[in-house]
Symmetry: D2
Subunit: 289 residues, 4 copies
């Protein structure tokens, strides 16, 4: 893979934002201009928390899940109701952002920080998700790889697939755009079948088009694609190209909206809870029309 492009060093030796640096003032204004009616569409899956507790004093649950909650007993007469949540961020059931600190390729985190230095027991020191706490706003483009249906099981998504979807929609992905990909698969509901996944060729396409952030229902294939580099999206798009990933997005409602409006671009906004020092955070990205 020595010939595969890398963004390590492109924005300096201490950068933590990666490809989000491609969102220049001009790019950002292009994104803002997409907001007209203000209609918002969420790109997030609905995550249903399961009770943390089991046994007679709580409902029985079927599986450990991304989010678990306990309703707090605050005592009689308190008008406020509240809960504690336990969140396993990097879980396929919850739409979440993978920051640079989530991935150490060859033992090093973008743009070359030793994994042992990038995080410790107390959390992430380099490349935490809160580097994006001010919000990411840019133009978003939806590429629907299987309008009205879904990709074949185990389909290897290539640059040609992305080109074909762009052609169908009549759009061009420009440097600094947020790329939203729909393949019609759900890692949780469909997880018993071979999942489609991104190939290294598709990741190279993202690099050539200057993708600033990726969101989609297509991630790395499971099982790995025959003859392909395994984990291409995490290893190369995140680890080498420093494109933050929005894992486990659900673009179905977006695809329906785009088709109805005949518009495949929109203002893309994402702002995770402003929590410091984590490898990732649950997010609810919005497409604004």
């Amino acid at each position: 893979m020595t010939d595969f492009p890398s963004n390590w060093g492109r924005w300096g030796d201490t950068d933590e934002r990666g490809a989000v640096n491609l969102i220049t003032d001009e790019v950002r204004a292009r994104g803002a201009a997409e907001a007209r009616t203000g209609q918002t569409v969420s790109l997030a899956r609905l995550t249903t928390p399961f009770p943390l507790t089991g046994g007679p004093f709580a409902p029985t649950t079927a599986s450990t899940t991304a989010v678990q909650t306990v309703m707090i007993h605050a005592g009689p007469g308190v008008p406020a109701m509240a809960e504690v949540m336990i969140v396993t961020t990097h879980h396929p059931e919850v739409t979440h952002l993978d920051a640079m600190g989530h991935w150490a390729e060859g033992g090093r985190v973008y743009p070359g920080v030793d994994a042992a230095a990038s995080s410790g027991a107390e959390g992430v020191r380099h490349g935490a998700a809160d580097v994006y706490a001010g919000g990411i706003l840019t133009r978003g483009v939806l590429l629907d790889l299987a309008p009205g249906g879904r990709l074949d099981p185990g389909h290897p998504v290539t640059g040609a697939d992305l080109d074909a979807a762009a052609d169908r929609a009549g759009v061009t992905v420009l440097p600094g755009d947020a790329l939203v990909v729909r393949g019609g698969w759900d890692r949780v509901a469909d997880g018993a079948q071979p999942l489609p996944g991104m190939t290294l060729d598709a990741v190279r396409w993202m690099h050539e088009h200057g993708v600033a952030v990726y969101a989609g229902d297509i991630g790395d294939a499971r099982p790995p694609l025959p003859g392909e580099v395994p984990g291409a999206l995490h290893r190369f798009a995140l680890g080498r190209l420093a494109i933050p990933l929005i894992d486990g997005a659900d673009p179905d409602e977006l695809a329906a909206t785009c088709a109805r409006l005949g518009r495949w671009t929109f203002q893309f906004v994402v702002a995770a809870p402003r929590i410091a020092g984590t490898t990732g955070l649950p997010v609810n990205p919005l497409a604004i029309f």
Copy 2:
């Protein structure tokens, strides 16, 4: 308080969105039109998680906090780093949204659901935060009550204070707007002093102006304001007027931006992680210019 206005029943007997219903298509388009350069400013505090664990294998911590994390030991050779987070949503350290299900005024949750029916051990059944999962977008207006400084300790914020700030900024709060209030106080850092707080008069002002959502660094006073109804914001704005509250917002950077740009309105967007069945969720509201 029988003469205090109430929105119970205004949008039906089963409504869960409350004053967010004031955001009509026209209002939303007015909000969208505020986005020009696409510059984003976060209204969220930065919450620093504390380690869940103590003792020799984790850093020592100074206090229990809104968010606690544990870095997961995934075994040798795993390139991904991840953590579990425990989140106490209704905590002053974390900017969070209070949904209808958070508050039972007189034992009933807006618009009149018995508290025992609205939530149980497994979570919230009526008025959960995920009713806003599609995102809230509208025009936001900042009213800075103490430009460049802060309110006096224990100051009772009234409608007149809000009017004065609107006059200074040359803005008018319109029905469906998101009201953002800055008083220059921090419930956590300044918590040893008497905190300013909203009076019932200010809540009535919000009703008269048709505020759809509230965000601010001013909440209910602590200790309660002499001669005022205690807990006016939670009891009346949330409990009776059904205005979702964004508690613990930090509008300092926003105020600086507004002053620099000479603009006190903006596109306001908030989208909490799409987690079902909770009384509230951590959020990162954005002001977009």
Copy 3:
């Protein structure tokens, strides 16, 4: 139930130990004398923790359980391995002690403390499990209700059943003894069938014999026994007679040992982790021969 005996007030108005007060110095010495070879048999179920986390960085789990763990990532080069445990004490999968503070019968905790006063958001103020932190030691007696087999589904356990088992074993339960009952059922593994359970008659028997602490695989029936007071063991043995319950014990190995040795009495010792202010704690009671 007004004629049912009660121990409220028997040991004063502020007592927290209940029937454990029946263990006098003489009773205790009788228990100590049972230890001869020092062979120990555990009365606890083996609880297998499930990972707190799900998703790709942790094993997938089948159900929420009594105990969940996360292995802590302490950083490279640390020779110690450690975990965090989340324990749902009152869960059928874990053998645990129910202290007085676990139960409010008619809104009051033994010996008459208002439930709102006995515990709050910060924990238990009256009747916490740590009142037994110095250890409970007395003579234990096993009554095996179904030697080599198990009771019929939904069997209502009565005083006559207990007498019959005592006769078979040639033992007499004396005041201050720990009563260990085996019915051959497992609330978790057998939970799809109607479970046998204690009747009020059996609880009255415990009172007449001066049982100081109860441990067994028979608790309250599920579904409730036809024609019987539901929840007799928790409501009357714990709530009224103040007999601490060791819920979810597993006396199978004990029964096999007793049968092999021809001894149905032993030194009974239980000492929960010394954690303050809880309604109950996981325990591992020992029978010592």
Copy 4:
């Protein structure tokens, strides 16, 4: 340290119990014979849980601690009160047992298992604490190094110190005994001062006397002792000699009882909650007289 004795292989290549194997039937009967009056003394610290939650619906806490709890809101009318506990086992505030799987000396867990094989994200596979779930019973001997007071700060505890204490008490530590050591220090309360600690010489003494299990308020010194091997107790007593450690014991009440009774030996019993697959567990060891 190549000349330091090791028990690796002494009880086979797959053993998980280590020096507890020294407790033969004869040793165990010697322990049982110590129980006369049945008086029990706990060797555990009282651990006060802190609320997991912060903010307005829970008490404010001063520090993250060994145990955190949330009272569960089970809904109105439920007579049972319950909580969830989060336990950080290897924390100085809680008396806990260190099993073999807690320590990898030179990357290997007793008796030579590769650390990566001994545990994983799902828990401990070799040398978990539940190998002692049947209970450990043997004779216990208290060596009080500073009767009525405490050791000097930073005191290096040697074999000569242990001999002197045994002489004062007129006892001899025999193979298979549980060694309980009191130095009068508290790692939590006294942690601002240099703590006394075990030297390699003292660990060698334990080996020569055949100590089966260690409990004490003296652990490894903090800061490390000048001129001594750092971490001698964990690295050599636990890691090489396979003596399970009961960390953070509190033998003060025991010392007072021994002095009053003029007896320095007792029946020692410990049985942790029967939870599978952990590196350690909170325990409440008892001395029975």
